[in-house]
């Protein structure tokens, strides 16, 4: 892992632009310096070899780098990396374009260079220089011969002098030397002994101090002199310049006297010296050049070859680089296109140039950007539509009105839960079905479908209808409102039908009307009743004793009838006023089970006493049938839920409800062979709300069918003496508690009244439980069977 990362790092570094560029620059600089060195530049002359080595190594390195690049390219080519084919083709083209001209130029340059160098050397110039040198040498020889001749004369002079002045002091030798020097115009004249010791010396006065010590001939010269030979030569001494040196032995005339040596140093005349130096240097330079012709050619050829090679390599490298560079955007484009084809619209390619390829890349980026944006937009609108749909669904789902939508062919498209609840039919199967189909499969909805069909076929855009449907012995009045949906693309829009169950509303209106009637009646009737009763009692009291014995019973019966009937009328009026009385609820926590126990207990006690008036209700009180049929006791069966929660209610009113229901049941059971009342309590959960359900069943004859629809209306009764207010009051109290009441006939005979009262929130329940005087909850279910 690490090594591959390192490898990649190295590859990137080695195949990158920087190392090659730096190397190229360094090599070009080195070559320039080398070129300068070849032309004898003092600065770079010393560095020539180093430069040569640097160049050779650099070029080897460059070759290595290029090979590495090529290897890398070949690897990519084999791996079929996108763009390498194009890169390879471009590279081949570039290399060909670079190599051909460089090779041609190189070939001709080498040729011209060699010809040019050969042309430097002209035979005539060479001859002229040779001649000049020869001339110079001849001139010097002539001078030398002159000096030798003069020296011989001076030696002869010295020999004669030594003979004459045998006991000659050094002083006289010096003066002779001085005289000779001046006579012959010699620069320096020195007399040595044979072993090189100075006897006397005379030199030009204007010489500087460094030359005060006379120049001593070398041992080689002295050895030559000892063999009686004359030495004559041109001395090339750096500081002094060229001078002629002649050394000659000075023979002594006397036998046994030592041989002395005379050295004559004659500086070349300035003109001679200058010309000689010039000829020498020109000749030497030319000779050197001639000699260096081969090496020079080699050097130039080498430099040129290196330059050519370097140029070639840089060209190859540049070809690799530019081929890559050219192919890069195309490769990226190809990759981008592939990515787009694969569905990735976020692909963006970096714009590296502003040429046509750059424009292409920009267009591509623009295109992918637009596609991406469009995609995002469509996704967003899809989401929005989804949210909208969810919103609508939620709204429709929680709407209390039923909503159905139909398409233009009146096939059911959607429905909401309220619709199902109101219509009492499962509409899931009815989706995409016609109205006729719905009517067929749900006979109870016949009136409903007919109303819609009628309105739609009439082409009404907005319509209303009130219909009545009945299902499960339950009749409901629905208010329908239909609206045509807006048309779309020339197609007729569908329908939306919104409907409400207005049964309760109508019932409430009726209740209100009845309440008003009852109140007025009670008011209007109750007032004259008391005077009537009082008057009847007074008549009876006053005239009972006055009338004849024979008429007395008549009076007694008549007045008693008046009083009884007024009483009866009074109780009826009281019942009405009870019904019409406005609600004054006094709610507190109530445990329904306890209430049921209490009321049932009351009835049990009442039976034992068999006395009228124990049962605190008017309607069925002291009824003869009850008394008369007491022989057949009604058994009461309790099935109470021990876990029944406490509810918030007016216990007095609930007690009245229970009384009314039990009385109704008892009345209904009169004369039945095995009368039985079954009271059940349980907790019911519906739509996330908890209810306490009280069910009172009997095995009597059940409600008469025609009465079923109007059970809760006042004056609806099948009893001889009933006011028809019992169930009306029950319903009113239940509704005051926010509950519902439902009455039905049981399949096996008998009637059932189901009351549901809402359970308040927990706080109410716990509060009730904590109250010391609160009604304790029944700990376990009780199943009691007892007689009333």
């Amino acid at each position: 892992m690490e090594s591959s990362a390192l490898n990649r790092y190295v590859t990137r570094y080695v195949t990158g632009v920087t190392p090659l560029a730096v190397l190229s620059v360094v090599l070009i600089a080195a070559l320039l310096m080398m070129n300068a060195a070849t032309q004898n530049s003092a600065l770079f002359g010393r560095m020539y070899s180093v430069l040569l080595l640097v160049n050779i190594f650099g070029i080897v390195l460059l070759i290595a780098l290029i090979l590495l690049n090529l290897f890398h390219l070949i690897e990519q080519y084999r791996a079929r990396v996108m763009g390498t084919r194009l890169t390879a083709r471009l590279l081949a083209m570039f290399v060909l374009l670079a190599v051909l001209p460089v090779s041609v130029v190189f070939f001709f340059s080498i040729h011209t260079l060699n010809r040019g160098i050969d042309n430097w050397f002209d035979v005539r110039i060479e001859k002229a220089l040779d001649d000049a040198l020869l001339l110079g040498r001849s001139a010097l020889d002539a001078l030398k011969q002159d000096l030798v001749k003069n020296t011989q004369e001076m030696v002869a002079e010295l020999e004669t002098l030594s003979a004459r002045q045998r006991a000659g002091a050094r002083r006289s030798e010096l003066s002779v030397l001085n005289a000779l020097r001046e006579q012959y115009g010699i620069t320096e004249l020195t007399l040595f002994t044979q072993d090189g010791k100075i006897i006397a010396s005379s030199s030009e006065a204007n010489l500087d101090a460094s030359t005060l010590i006379p120049d001593r001939p070398s041992d080689a010269i002295l050895a030559q002199i000892r063999q009686r030979l004359t030495y004559a030569n041109l001395d090339v001494v750096g500081k002094v310049g060229m001078r002629l040196r002649v050394v000659m032995p000075v023979q002594a005339r006397e036998i046994g006297a030592p041989v002395r040596v005379l050295q004559v140093l004659q500086a070349l005349p300035a003109r001679y010296a200058k010309l000689g130096e010039s000829v020498q240097s020109a000749f030497a330079e030319y000779e050197k050049l001639v000699y260096l012709r081969g090496p020079l050619k080699f050097g130039f050829t080498l430099t040129l070859s290196l330059i050519a090679l370097l140029t070639l390599l840089i060209a190859v490298w540049a070809a690799i680089f530019s081929a890559r560079r050219l192919a890069a955007p195309i490769r990226e484009l190809a990759e981008g296109t592939r990515a787009v084809a694969a569905g990735d619209y976020r692909t963006q390619i970096p714009v590296t140039s502003h040429d046509e390829i750059g424009i292409l890349v920009e267009s591509f980026n623009d295109m992918t950007h637009r596609i991406h944006r469009a995609q995002v937009q469509s996704k967003r609108s899809q989401q929005e539509a989804e949210i909208q749909r969810a919103y609508l669904e939620t709204v429709l789902g929680h709407l209390s009105s039923g909503v159905l939508t139909f398409n233009q062919r009146l096939l059911l498209r959607t429905h909401n839960p309220a619709a199902v609840q109101i219509l009492g039919a499962d509409l899931k199967d009815a989706e995409r079905k016609s109205l006729a189909w719905i009517g067929e499969h749900h006979p109870a909805l016949h009136a409903f479908t007919e109303a819609i069909d009628h309105a739609a076929s009439a082409g009404q855009a907005v319509w209303r209808a009130q219909i009545q449907i009945s299902s499960n012995n339950h009749s409901r009045i629905l208010m329908l409102r239909g609206t045509q949906l807006p048309s779309w693309r020339g197609n007729r829009g569908g329908y939306v039908v919104v409907f409400d169950d207005i049964t309760a509303l109508i019932q409430a209106q009726r209740d209100a009307a009845w309440g008003e009637v009852a109140r007025r009646m009670a008011h209007e009737i109750k007032n004259p009743l008391t005077p009537i009763q009082l008057s009847a009692e007074r008549i009876r009291h006053k005239f009972m004793r006055q009338v004849d014995e024979a008429e007395r019973p008549i009076l007694d019966r008549a007045t008693r009838t008046i009083i009884d009937q007024v009483d009866s009328l009074k109780s009826m009026v009281n019942a009405f006023s009870e019904y019409a009385r406005s609600a004054q609820m006094q709610t507190r926590p109530v445990q329904l089970n306890e209430l049921v126990h209490d009321v049932v207990e009351l009835y049990k006690n009442a039976r034992g006493a068999a006395a009228a008036g124990v049962v605190p209700l008017h309607g069925a009180k002291k009824g003869k049938p009850a008394k008369g049929k007491a022989s057949k006791p009604v058994s009461t069966k309790l099935d109470l839920d021990a876990e029944l929660p406490v509810i918030s209610a007016d216990s007095g009113r609930l007690r009245q409800v229970l009384h009314n229901l039990l009385l109704n049941a008892r009345d209904a059971l009169a004369g039945r062979p095995k009368p039985e009342i079954h009271i059940t309590t349980q907790t019911v959960k519906e739509n996330g709300l908890a209810f306490v359900e009280l069910k009172v069943r009997d095995n009597g004859p059940g409600f008469p069918e025609p009465l079923l629809a109007h059970l809760y209306e006042p004056y609806v009764t099948n009893k001889e003496k009933g006011t028809g207010l019992g169930l009306a009051i029950v319903k009113r109290i239940v509704e005051e508690h926010g509950g519902t009441i439902q009455a039905e006939n049981l399949a096996g005979g008998g009637a059932s009244i189901i009351i549901r009262l809402p359970v308040g929130d927990l706080s109410v329940r716990s509060e009730a439980a904590d109250q010391p005087n609160g009604v304790p909850r029944a700990d376990k279910p009780t199943h009691v069977k007892e007689g009333i």
Partner: protein
């Protein structure tokens, strides 16, 4: 033309290789006799180097190319248990050049006292003079301590002193590699 360059290239590479492998393989210079001696705070050198040239070098010399001979001298103090200690080292440059006008060879030995250059008629004399050390005095920073001393002497032709165009040729040709190799001589107190 290109072919010849190629062969030159090959040859140069081979020569470079040969050079690095055996630097002293073609030693035409020899250090024949050196007598080093301590005199006070200096080392006195007397001796002879045989500096015979190959024909190629001789030709170059006669064509006016100046030659420079480098004489490397290293002074070591011998130690019994440790390696020898390098006390001092000197590098002497000696030069020979042909003077066309006078037809003589000029030799400069760089010896103090004597004239900077001497001229010789024959090349042999000049080379002989070039190789002669006659009581050549090398200064020491301090008087040498007691003990055994050795000197190492080596003479070689300085290719870097040749004209630039000649250097590649010289480097790549064995004829130009004149090197005596190191020779060791005992120093007398």
């Amino acid at each position: 033309m290109r072919v010849s360059i190629k062969t030159d290239w090959c040859r140069s590479l081979l020569a470079l290789l040969a050079l690095t492998l055996a630097g002293a393989a073609a030693a035409d210079f020899t250090v024949t006799d050196v007598k080093p001696k301590f005199i006070g705070q200096s080392l006195l050198l007397a001796g002879n180097l045989d500096l015979s040239l190959t024909t190629k070098v001789e030709e170059a010399l006669s064509k006016g190319i100046p030659l420079e001979v480098i004489v490397d001298i290293r002074l070591y103090q011998q130690r019994r248990w440790l390696w020898d200690k390098n006390v001092a080292s000197w590098t002497l440059h000696r030069r020979i050049q042909y003077h066309a006008l006078s037809g003589q060879y000029l030799v400069s030995t760089g010896e103090p006292g004597a004239d900077s250059s001497e001229s010789f008629i024959t090349q042999q004399d000049a080379l002989k003079q070039l190789g002669v050390f006659s009581d050549f005095r090398l200064a020491l920073s301090e008087a040498p301590a007691e003990g055994n001393y050795l000197i190492e002497v080596r003479a070689n032709l300085d290719i870097e002193a040749l004209p630039a165009p000649l250097r590649p040729v010289a480097y790549t040709s064995l004829a130009w590699h004149l090197n005596s190799g190191w020779t060791t001589w005992k120093v007398v107190h």
